[in-house]
C-alpha cells in the first residue's frame, strides 16, 4: 500500500514538474531550467511506471530495457549531432515518433483487450491522432528539410479531397467504436489514418511548417492523454492534456506572430511567404516583432545603431539613447554609425545625438563603422535608407553607385526601423530590405524604439 502511494506521489511530482517546467520554459531567463525540470519529471514518471506494483504481469524487463537503451541512445546521439539550423525538423521527427508510439499502443490495446464502448472510443481516438501526428510530422520534416517540395505532394483540389477523407475517417471511427470489428478493418483504419495525416499536411505551405508541427505536437499530447485514460495513469493524463492545451495555444500564438489565423494556415495554405511585405519585383521583405527584435538585441554582444533622416523626423533621439543605456546596462556594447550624408544637413545626426547626450566616442564615422560592422551582431537602422543602400556598391546603373555607404550587411543581423517600404531622399529602391539578414520593423521610429525599449526592460 505504502509503496503504491509512493508511486502515486511520484506521478504527482512528475505532473507538477511538467507544469512548472512548462511555465519556466516560457521566459528566456528560466527556459533552460524549465526544460531540465520537465526532464526530471519525466524520469521520475518513468521510474514510477517501472516499479508501480499495481501492474501485475510478468515484468519482461529485458524487453523494456532494450527499448529504453535503444531509444535513449538514438535520441541522444541525434540530438547532439544535429546542426543548429536543422533543429526544427528534428523536433518534427521526434514528435512523429511519439505519435507512432501512441498508435502502436492503441493498436495493441484494440486488438488484444476487449474494451467497452468508452474504452474503444478512447483507444480509437489515440490511434487516429497518433497516426496523423506520425505521418504528418514526417511529411513536415521532409518539407522543412527541403527533401520534398509542396508541389510534389499536392493534388488539384487537395483541400476538398482532405475534407472527403476526414469524413471517411470519422465514419469508420464511429463504426469501429460501435461494433466489435475485425482486425482487418482495424488495419484498414490504421492505414487510412496514416494516409490522412500525410494528406492533411501536404497542401500546407513550407513556411507554415512550424505552425503545423506545433499543432501535431498538441495532437500527440492528446493521444498521450487518451492513453493515460486507457492505462488509468494520471501522469500521462495530465502531461498529455498539458501538452495538448499549451500546444494549441502555442499554435495560435505562432499564427498571430505571423499575422495570420490558424484557419488561414490550414486551409488557405499554399503561401510560401507568410507574414511578409511584397517588394517591387515580387521580392519579399521579412518583418519582425518588438519581442523578437528585443531579444536579439538583448542577447547580442555588440549593437550598431545607424541613424538617418527618419530619426530626425520621428525625433526619436532621446528614446534611442535610452535604449542604448538599457542595453549597455545589460552588457551590450552599443555604437552609432554616422554616415556623412545622413539626414538633411551636414552634421544633422550630430546635432540630434548631442541633444540626446550620446557621448562622442560612441559615434563612429563611415570608415570606423565599416571596419566595425563585420564584428557587429545586430545593426539597427533607424530611419536611414540611402546611406545603407547596397546599390551604391553593387549596382553600377544606380544613381548613387560609387557613393560610400555603410556596409550594414556585413553584420550578423540587420533590423530596419521605418514606416513603410517607401524610398529615401534619392528616390531609389533599397535591396537591403530584401537581404536575407534583414528584418523590417515597420512604424514610426520613436514608437518602434519605445516598444523595443519596454520589451528589453521586460527581459
Amino acid at each position: 500500500m505504502i509503496f503504491t502511494t509512493i508511486v502515486d506521489i511520484a506521478y504527482l511530482i512528475g505532473a507538477i514538474l511538467f507544469v512548472w517546467g512548462l511555465r519556466l520554459l516560457s521566459s528566456p531567463d528560466s527556459a533552460r531550467k524549465g526544460n531540465t525540470l520537465a526532464a526530471i519529471g519525466m524520469a521520475i514518471g518513468i521510474a514510477g511506471s517501472l516499479c508501480d506494483n499495481r501492474i501485475d504481469g510478468e515484468g519482461n524487463y529485458v524487453w523494456i530495457a532494450g527499448g529504453i537503451v535503444l531509444g535513449a541512445t538514438i535520441g541522444w546521439l541525434v540530438a547532439k549531432k544535429i546542426k543548429m539550423t536543422d533543429m526544427p525538423q528534428m523536433v518534427s521527427v521526434f514528435n512523429g515518433l511519439g505519435g507512432a508510439c501512441a498508435a502502436i499502443l492503441s493498436i495493441v490495446e484494440l486488438s488484444t483487450v476487449s474494451l467497452d464502448t468508452g474504452g474503444k472510443v478512447i483507444s480509437l481516438f489515440a490511434l487516429l491522432i497518433g497516426c496523423v501526428a506520425f505521418t504528418g510530422s514526417m511529411l513536415a520534416y521532409l518539407k522543412l528539410d527541403g527533401k520534398i517540395w509542396d508541389s510534389q505532394v499536392t493534388w488539384p483540389k487537395h483541400n476538398i479531397i482532405n475534407q472527403f477523407l476526414l469524413i471517411i475517417v470519422l465514419g469508420m471511427f464511429t463504426y469501429l467504436a460501435m461494433t466489435n470489428a475485425s482486425n482487418t478493418l482495424l488495419i484498414a483504419f490504421l492505414v487510412l489514418c496514416l494516409f490522412y495525416g500525410w494528406s492533411f499536411v501536404a497542401p500546407i505551405g513550407g513556411a507554415d511548417m512550424p505552425v503545423v508541427i506545433s499543432l501535431l505536437n498538441s495532437f500527440t499530447g492528446l493521444s498521450a492523454a487518451a492513453a493515460g485514460l486507457i492505462y488509468d495513469n494520471n501522469l500521462m493524463l495530465v502531461g498529455g492534456i498539458l501538452v495538448g492545451a499549451s500546444g494549441t495555444i502555442l499554435t495560435v500564438l505562432m499564427c498571430q506572430a505571423m499575422n495570420r489565423s490558424l484557419f488561414n494556415v490550414l486551409i488557405g495554405g499554399f503561401s510560401a511567404a507568410g507574414g511578409a511585405a511584397q517588394g517591387a519585383d515580387d521580392q519579399v521583405a521579412k518583418t519582425t516583432s518588438a519581442v523578437d527584435a528585443s531579444i536579439l538585441l538583448y542577447y547580442s554582444q555588440s549593437v550598431m545603431f545607424v541613424p538617418g533622416y527618419g530619426l530626425a523626423v520621428a525625433q526619436a533621439q532621446k528614446a534611442l539613447k535610452e535604449l542604448d543605456d538599457t542595453l549597455e546596462a545589460n552588457g551590450v556594447d552599443v555604437k552609432y554609425a554616422i554616415h556623412p550624408v545622413a539626414g538633411r544637413m551636414p552634421g544633422h545626426m550630430n546635432v540630434l545625438l548631442a541633444e540626446a547626450d550620446v557621448p562622442y566616442p560612441k559615434l563612429l564615422d563611415l570608415d570606423d563603422a565599416n571596419a566595425a560592422l563585420p564584428s557587429t551582431d545586430v545593426v539597427v537602422i533607424v530611419g536611414a535608407n540611402d546611406v545603407v543602400n547596397p546599390a551604391a556598391v553593387d549596382d553600377p546603373t544606380s544613381s548613387i553607385y560609387g557613393m560610400p555607404v555603410l556596409n550594414v550587411w556585413d553584420a550578423k543581423h540587420v533590423i530596419v526601423l521605418k514606416r513603410s517600404m517607401s524610398p529615401g531622399y534619392a528616390g531609389i529602391q533599397n535591396q537591403l530590405f530584401f537581404h536575407e539578414k534583414t528584418k523590417m520593423f515597420f512604424g514610426d521610429a520613436k514608437d518602434s524604439i519605445q516598444s523595443l525599449l519596454s520589451e528589453v526592460k521586460n527581459l
Binding site: 538633411r344 551636414p346 560610400p404
Partner: protein, 359 residues
C-alpha cells in the same frame, strides 16, 4: 599629373590642408602649393609634408591641374597656362553667363565647383554645401557678437530673462545649420521657406515652421529655389514683417541662382524691430534679402545691426579649409581615372561641372 594649389588673396580659407597631401599622391604624381597658402587657416608651410613649394608663376605655367577657390587668374596669366592644363575653381557661371564663353574663347579646360550637381553621390564634393553649412553656424555666432541680450532663457535671482527669438528665412543648408545652432543655444526658433519639403526638415530640428499658404513648389529644380508669385510674395512679406519685428535675431539665406536675392525684409520692418536686434544676411553678395543690407559691412540702423556677409565661412578658416580641401580631393578622386581626366566622360558630376572645354 601635377596638381597645384593657388593661395587665396581675399580669404583666409585654403583650398588644401596638410592631411590632403598623402591622399592626393595616391593617384597624382606631385602636389605643388604656393607659399603661405595655409597662413590664414593656421597651417604653416612646414605642416604640408611631401609637397613642393612653388611660386604663382611656376604653378600657372607648370601644373596639369590648377586649383583655386575664387577665380582670380588674370587674362595675362591664362596665357602662360599649359595647354592641357585643367583649372578648377568657383566661377559662378549662373551669375554671369559670359564667363563660360570667355574661358571657352581662351580654349581652356575649366571645372566650376559650384556646378556640381546636388545629388547624394556628389555631396562629398559639394563645396557649396560645406561652406553654406559653416555660414549657417557662424551666422548665429556673428549675430551673438552684436546682440546685447541672452540667447537662452534664464530664470535667475536677478530676474527672468525670456529666451531670444530667432527667425531663419530660407531653410537650405545654411538655414538648417543656423536653426540647429540657435536651438542649441536655447533660442526659440522659427523658420520660413518657400519649398514645402523643408517643413519636415525644419521640424526635425525642433524649430517651428511658419507657413505662408500657396507656395509654388519646385521639386524639379534640383534643390534650388524657384521664383514665387507676386501675391505670395506679398503675403509672405507681411508675415515676415510681423515675425521679424518680434525677433531678436533674423537670419536670411534666401538665394535664387543667377538672380538678385529676393527682398524679404523691408526697411520698415527693420525700423519696427527692437533696438539691439540683429539681422544676418547671407544673401548679401547677390543684393541681400534685407533692404538695408550692404555686402561685407555691419550696418547700424536705429540700433538694429544688419550684418551683410556672404562669406561667413571665412570666420572659421581652419575647418572651412579642411572641408574645402576634402571636397576638392573627393572631386579629383572622382574625375581622375587611371591618372587622366576624360573631359568627354558622360559622368553626371564631371560633365555638369565643366564650364569650358578645350576644343
Amino acid at each position: 599629373m601635377i596638381i597645384a594649389y593657388l593661395k587665396e588673396n581675399n580669404s583666409d580659407i585654403s583650398p588644401i590642408v596638410p592631411s590632403n597631401v598623402t591622399k592626393l599622391l595616391k593617384f597624382l604624381d606631385e602636389v605643388w602649393i604656393e607659399s603661405g597658402i595655409g597662413d590664414g587657416s593656421y597651417f604653416r608651410d612646414s605642416d604640408y609634408e611631401s609637397v613642393t613649394i612653388k611660386s604663382r608663376k611656376d604653378i600657372l605655367s607648370g601644373a596639369d591641374i590648377i586649383v583655386q577657390i575664387s577665380p582670380d587668374i588674370t587674362d595675362q596669366e591664362y596665357n602662360s597656362v599649359k595647354d592641357s592644363a585643367i583649372i578648377i575653381g568657383q566661377y559662378a557661371p549662373f551669375n554671369d553667363a559670359k564667363i563660360g564663353e570667355g574661358l571657352q574663347a581662351k580654349n581652356l579646360n575649366v571645372f566650376s565647383l559650384d556646378m556640381i550637381p546636388r545629388t547624394s553621390l556628389a555631396q562629398s564634393m559639394d563645396v557649396l554645401s560645406s561652406m553654406a553649412s559653416i555660414a549657417g553656424y557662424q551666422s548665429i555666432l556673428s549675430a551673438l557678437q552684436y546682440m546685447p541680450r541672452y540667447m537662452p532663457m534664464m530664470i535667475t535671482a536677478a530676474g527672468s530673462i525670456k529666451p531670444s527669438k530667432v527667425l531663419v528665412i530660407g531653410a537650405g543648408v545654411a538655414g538648417l545649420q543656423a536653426i540647429a545652432t540657435a536651438r542649441r543655444l536655447g533660442a526659440m526658433v522659427e523658420a520660413f521657406d518657400t519649398r514645402a519639403a523643408v517643413k519636415e526638415e525644419v521640424q526635425s530640428l525642433g524649430a517651428k515652421f511658419v507657413e505662408v499658404e500657396g507656395a509654388t513648389d519646385d521639386k524639379d529644380a534640383g534643390g534650388y529655389a524657384v521664383e514665387q508669385t507676386e501675391e505670395y510674395k506679398m503675403r509672405q512679406a507681411q508675415l515676415i514683417q510681423e515675425k521679424a519685428i518680434a525677433s531678436d535675431i533674423v537670419v536670411t539665406t534666401a538665394q535664387l541662382r543667377g538672380r538678385p536675392a529676393p527682398k524679404l525684409i523691408t526697411k520698415e520692418t527693420v525700423e519696427a524691430m527692437k533696438s539691439g536686434s540683429v539681422i544676418v544676411d547671407l544673401a548679401a553678395s547677390t543684393g541681400g534679402n534685407c533692404a538695408i543690407c550692404e555686402d561685407n559691412k555691419v550696418v547700424d540702423h536705429n540700433g538694429v545691426k544688419i550684418i551683410g556677409d556672404s562669406n561667413l565661412a571665412n570666420r572659421m578658416p581652419q575647418d572651412a579649409s579642411t572641408l574645402y580641401g576634402n571636397n576638392i580631393h573627393n572631386f579629383l578622386k572622382h574625375i581622375v581615372r587611371d591618372g587622366t581626366i576624360d573631359m568627354n566622360s558622360e559622368d553626371e558630376i564631371l560633365s555638369k561641372s565643366i564650364i569650358s572645354k578645350k576644343s
